[in-house]
């Protein structure tokens, strides 16, 4: 615990040094604010426009969480179908890779065409890019069960449903969390990218991605930096929340999460 505190302190010192360096470069070279604002100016913009920034942050969070949760629900359901029916898996599994290879930037315009601009479209875009890691990882966990354990359940005359819910699903939990961790990271990127195309139904109001383009067009560079900062923090928060949930679910029995806790 003491060691972790020291580590956190060191990280903060590094952060302070980097911010100081940034401020120094900007101040000594007299860089114009609209090209590169210093951290003090960004902080000022952050404080001044805090309500509208928070509004954008909430919209993006809603879209990212919505897309991520939907992808977990649908992804786990699809993986369960894949695990129960090998034929189905062999037929459709290759197409889940398509989900991963389709460029998100190219995907957004047709979805906006169908679902209209706004939160729904962005959530759908996020859902689509989050889906593949969930399906791939969960399927892997569901089908890679020790053959002896299957035999054990058969000796107990377990039903297929019991084998799925009492054996395969818990066995897949670590894999599911690996998938969620990947998807949580890209969900924020997905939401931001979606917003670049379909961020808002009203001028000047929208998620972080929309607000970033808007601020850029208005030459409000310091506010743009504040928004980028907010987006980064959001991604960070997602990562840590998922890490915490993973620890909560697995720390009793799974080696990987114990190793992570020990680091």
């Amino acid at each position: 615990m003491k060691k972790q505190g020291l580590l956190a302190l060191n990280s903060l010192i590094v952060l302070a040094c980097l911010l100081g360096l940034w401020q120094a470069v900007v101040s000594f070279n007299h860089v114009p604010v609209y090209i590169l604002p210093g951290p003090l100016v960004v902080a000022h913009a952050l404080a001044e426009r805090y309500p509208s920034l928070l509004n954008s942050l909430l919209i993006t969070t809603e879209e990212a969480v919505g897309g991520l949760v939907a992808s977990i629900v649908v992804g786990v359901a699809v993986a369960m179908l894949f695990a129960q029916w090998r034929g189905l898996r062999q037929l459709f599994y290759p197409y889940t890779i398509l989900l991963q290879t389709v460029p998100i930037v190219a995907l957004a315009p047709p979805i906006i065409l169908w679902a209209g601009a706004g939160i729904l479209s962005v959530t759908i875009v996020t859902f689509i890019i989050c889906l593949a890691p969930i399906i791939a990882n969960t399927t892997q966990g569901l089908i890679s069960v020790d053959a002896n354990l299957i035999d054990l359940f058969l000796m107990y005359k377990a039903t297929p449903a019991q084998i799925l819910f009492k054996l395969r699903l818990p066995n897949a939990l670590p894999n599911l969390f690996t998938g969620i961790r990947i998807s949580a990271g890209i969900s924020v990127i997905g939401a931001l990218t979606g917003e670049l195309f379909a961020g808002s139904t009203r001028v000047g109001e929208g998620g972080l991605g929309y607000a970033i383009t808007y601020a850029n067009n208005q030459m409000e560079t310091s506010y743009m930096f504040a928004l980028v900062l907010a987006a980064t923090v959001l991604g960070f928060a997602f990562f840590f929340i998922v890490m915490f949930l993973e620890w909560l679910a697995l720390h009793n029995w799974h080696e990987s999460s114990r190793a992570a806790a020990a680091e």
């Binding site: 035999d151 000796m155 107990y156 005359k157 054996l167 818990p170 029995w253 799974h254 080696e255």
Partner: protein, 259 residues
């Protein structure tokens, strides 16, 4: 479901059984063997002689290619209520505590919770794991894991135990002690046991009968009635008659290895 137990037939009857795998490899060829109730039969033999496969056939986990297996006059699948299978690995579910693992079978059969708690608790005491009931498998030593695995097999009160090299991964002292405890329970409960091992000493110590299998294809090479007095304890291993049995069995086994 209540399985009707037929007392007039042999406990396990293996009649002209062959097993071929899909790649046409012959695992077992023309095996015939009758095991009476209460016998402790151990299979010894080189790798690839089909010892483990034989247990899979008796349990019904794998179908025979020829011949038939009857367990108490029933097909193996219908007789599963009578049998418990103990694997080489402890095969505990890592996300369940020891007591949850031991209670797995009863839970899958929807046994009442209080009955489950009571029987699991007693069984854990019996195998000396009462103090680690709430721990996870990861926190146990290899020997304790195996005890939990045995407790899980016994809690469903089987008549027949199928044990596939259960102690192979343990150190010798732990293995010896678990052997002694297994025999203590065996003498109380009088199961019928089919046991697979690579250790001649273990086979002699445990069994009433040893079946030596030869490989390619797997077939019965020798059957030895173990003439060792009961009860068998740690001292039994130091006796002259034990040594003679081990020597004799090793000699037969060596002959099989040399083809």
């Amino acid at each position: 479901m209540v399985t009707v137990v037929n007392k007039a037939v042999a406990e396990i009857s293996i009649e002209g059984v062959s097993k071929r795998f899909r790649n046409a490899a012959v695992a077992l060829e023309g095996i015939s063997l009758t095991v009476e109730r209460g016998e402790f039969v151990t299979f010894l033999g080189p790798s690839g002689c089909g010892k483990s496969t034989l247990l899979k056939l008796v349990s019904g986990l794998s179908p025979v290619s020829d011949g038939r297996v009857l367990v108490n006059g029933m097909t193996p699948v219908n007789a599963r209520d009578l049998m418990s299978f103990i694997f080489q690995d402890a095969t505990l579910l890592p996300w369940r505590t020891v007591e949850q693992n031991v209670g797995l079978g009863m839970q899958l059969e929807h046994a009442a919770r209080n009955l489950r708690t009571e029987r699991v608790g007693k069984m854990l005491e019996l195998v000396g794991l009462g103090h680690v009931a709430k721990r996870y498998p990861r926190q146990l030593s290899g020997g304790m894991k195996m005890r939990a695995s045995i407790a899980r097999a016994l809690v469903s009160r089987p008549r027949i135990l199928l044990m596939d090299e259960p102690f192979a991964a343990l150190d010798e002292m732990t293995r010896d002690r678990l052997n002694e405890e297994l025999l203590r329970l065996y003498s109380e409960q009088k199961w019928t046991v089919l046991f697979v091992t690579h250790s001649v000493a273990e086979a002699v110590f445990l069994s009433t009968r040893i079946v030596i299998l030869a490989a390619h294809p797997g077939r019965v090479a020798h059957t030895i009635d173990v003439d060792l007095p009961w009860p068998r304890t740690a001292e039994t291993r130091e006796s002259k008659v034990f040594e003679e049995q081990v020597t004799w069995t090793s000699r037969l086994l060596r002959g099989v290895y040399q083809g």
